[in-house]
Amino acid sequence: MSNSSKRLTRDLMAARIAAEFKDGWIVNLGVGMPTRCSDFLPEDREVILHAENGVIGYGRNATVAEATPYVVNGGAQPVLLTPVASIVHHADAFAIIRRGLLDVAVLGAYETAANGDFANWRINGRKGGGIGGAMDLAVGAKQVFLLLEHTTRDGLPRLLERCSLPLTASGVVTLVMTDLGLFEPTGSSFRLHEIAPGFTVDDVQQLTGAPILPTPDLREVTI
């Protein structure tokens, strides 16, 4: 790692994944890092944000001055509504998810694997956990994008050949954004599409628990 190597910020990661949203998409942003994406929606595209609590068509995070206690996103954070907004109850919010209307769910994760599995609800050895809407989203959305740090606090890899934690869903992950780059699980490896500035493929491989395959047109992560 060169001196200029610095892991991507959370805002950069959120902005980069938000740049993947296509015009007309209906998107759910999970608790944690993913909800940041609503501040980085591509301005040339119409993206409808859906939240588990039934808010359809919300926009960016609210400032303290703008916030009302009546409008929150799936992470219970105050957000603003867009002009197309509508509200449904919790059962209908998940009806939308299971029916397959979401183009993508962006979720946080503890771990993900080259086979498209991911785990984000329970840590080994711990009793209980937090599933939230993740299991419904993971099987309902057309695609699942993950936003997670590349390694744990102890420096262990979160991108693995096989998950070690109890799964949230199997084989559903289509894109993974970490603070080291943009990855696509291929079954046996992670294809590396974009890399954090200052890092080499070898740097990334050493911090990853599965084979990394750089694409021929590998480039630096840019927004």
Binding site: N53, V72, V88, H90, A91, G129, G133, D136, S170
Partner: protein, 248 residues
Amino acid sequence: MRSKVVGSFEEAVAGVENGSSILVAGFGEPGTPHNLVEALYKQGASHLTLIANGAGQTREDGVITMGNLIEAKRVARVILAFTASTHPSRKTPLEYLNEAGEIEAQITPQGTLAERIRAGGAGIPAFFTPAGVGTEVTKGKEHREFGGRTYVMEEAITANYALIRCWKADSFGNLVFRRSQRNFNPIMAMAADCTLVEAEEIVEVGTLDPDLIHTSGIFVQRVVSIPDAGGRLEIPPLSLQKTAKNRP
């Protein structure tokens, strides 16, 4: 028309017996019936079953939550989408009691939870869903294929009580929710034998547009007005303080 309005939160939760099952609405701050939860805490019933999105946290601003009921060992069983805090460092009373085997904690995907409650309110005893198939939360449950895809059978949830918070209510119990206040409230009101409502404002029967009523009064048994709410939140919204950005 007999009015369903009662004079106090205490009166609203009167008669809740030990062993009752209670649906508690809310998602984050909006639509959370803080006043009824506090009244239930003071009322004293124990061996409760709580069904909610999450019930772990206790708060430091004096607001009584389900976490306090759990901490006081008044809860025998919970059905939740979150049985542990997202950060392992911030353990909740529920987690300690769960680890000690002193509470039964059933975790369920949030959409399955919502649909089980909706089914309960709709007289549907069981249904099939794809959520959680292939994970440990559906282990031992009946699976079945429809159209080449595997689904798991989940059973309905009903309860003795539902604790509900709304924006406006009339004295017949017709309810209107504001924005994301809606969340679990309408489906929980349908799934309970006795639905208790705290309302930010109570209006005359006949003043709410029938097309705008989110929960019909036939689902509601008792309504209580939140003093000094008058359409505003009487409790400082914690999530708002914590998360709203300070932007220019």
